[in-house]
């Protein structure tokens, strides 16, 4: 794959607007549908709309939200819910560490990052990881903000719409809406597949994820990330070292 040329939107404001534009396309359609599915799921659980909105509001990232609702529905203890969600969402730690150097700049106050990190989730993360390195430093954070804030607003709206839909929508359609999300994530990463170093980590993760889930549903992601990531890291490092040695001997 050819490396993309640098982009410049001209100003922080235009970077923000272009982030909005990129979000109001396929990401908005897919996440909107997903969150309609989530709203429907919450109303089937018998909870109120406020619970659904609070979940999308302060715990935005669909896998943890579904787990919270499912566990609550089966009367899991508070500790069990917190532990399960912590393990499902542990990916957010490496994701945030990896994203931050691409969106940070010298002028934005630190507190802004501690607020905006609430909006780091797969869709916005993948978009920012693709676009932000190409942008001038001061336009990166506005682009990310412009992408995720409207996207999150659409998710809030869709949660409310979906909450009132189950009576109208047949169960199969709800399934289809919920299925959109993992399939979309999968295709986003398949599209980025040619980026150096990623295929090994992605393939190992995809294989280890379900396998370790069969062994230990609670710890499966942590194990997948550590084992799959470490093996992929060693393979990538060996390849780069091999290349460097080749260049030196030539």
């Amino acid at each position: 794959m050819k490396s993309s040329p640098p982009r410049d939107f001209g100003s922080r404001r235009l970077a923000y607007i272009n982030g909005c534009k990129d979000a109001f396309g396929i990401p908005a359609i897919i996440l909107g549908s997903t969150y309609m599915g989530f709203g429907a799921l919450v109303s089937e659980t018998g909870l109120e709309i406020w619970h659904a909105l609070l979940s999308s509001g302060i715990n935005w990232a669909i896998p943890g939200q579904i787990a919270t609702m499912e566990l609550y529905a089966v009367d899991a203890s508070l500790f069990a819910i917190a532990a399960a969600v912590a393990l499902i969402n542990c990916r957010l730690l490496p994701m945030t560490i990896v994203l931050m150097p691409h969106i940070r700049n010298k002028t934005t106050p630190k507190i802004a990052y501690y607020f905006m990190c609430n909006f780091i989730a797969v869709t916005g993360w993948a978009a920012a990881m693709r676009q932000c390195p190409l942008l001038p430093e001061e336009q990166r954070f506005p682009y990310f903000t412009g992408f995720v804030i409207p996207l999150w607003s659409i998710c809030m709206l869709s949660t409310a719409i979906g909450y009132y839909l189950p009576g109208i929508l047949p169960g199969e359609i709800t399934m289809g809406l919920v299925f959109l999300n993992p399939v979309y994530f999968m295709l986003v990463f398949v599209a980025d597949f040619t980026q150096p170093g990623r295929p090994t980590a992605l393939i190992l993760g995809a294989i280890l994820g379900p396998l370790t889930f069969l062994l230990t549903p609670d710890w499966n992601l942590l194990i997948t990330g550590l084992i799959g990531g470490t093996i992929a890291f060693y393979i990538a490092e060996r390849q780069t070292r091999g290349k460097i040695r080749k260049v030196e001997t030539e």
Binding site: I26, E48, G228
Partner: protein
């Protein structure tokens, strides 16, 4: 359209709030820790490259688990149905020169049809 809860102090309303707050707190912990740690990790270091690999492995593991062994409404379908819809989605995606929308939509439509028609 939105009904105001008859009683915001009722246990049916408050008990889920505790669960939601706990879930949100642990989620925020990871994100905030990520922001705090990121300032101390050099972007060009081996440690950073390792964290990147871990992030991608975690994401792929989560997505493939969500498709193959889901929790939630998708669990009512068979693994063949979900895997079949995934393969259809991937095939259409590549046939349409990586058109995300068509790829995702065909996977979801295939799943809905399979769910409606029952096991193949």
């Amino acid at each position: 359209m939105i009904e105001i809860s008859s009683n915001f102090l009722a246990p049916e309303f408050l008990a889920p709030l505790a669960a939601l707050a706990a879930a949100a707190a642990v989620t925020y912990f990871w994100r905030a820790l990520g922001v705090a740690v990121s300032g101390k990790v050099d972007k060009d270091s081996a440690l950073f490259r390792w964290v990147t690999c871990v992030a991608y492995a975690l994401l792929a593991g989560l997505i493939s688990r969500m498709i193959l062994l889901p929790i939630g409404p998708l669990a009512d379908l068979s693994i063949e149905q979900r895997a079949g819809a995934t393969v259809i989605s991937l095939a259409v995606f590549f046939l349409t020169r990586k058109n995300l929308l068509i790829g995702v939509a065909s996977g979801a439509i295939a799943l809905v049809l399979m769910a409606k028609l029952g096991p193949l």
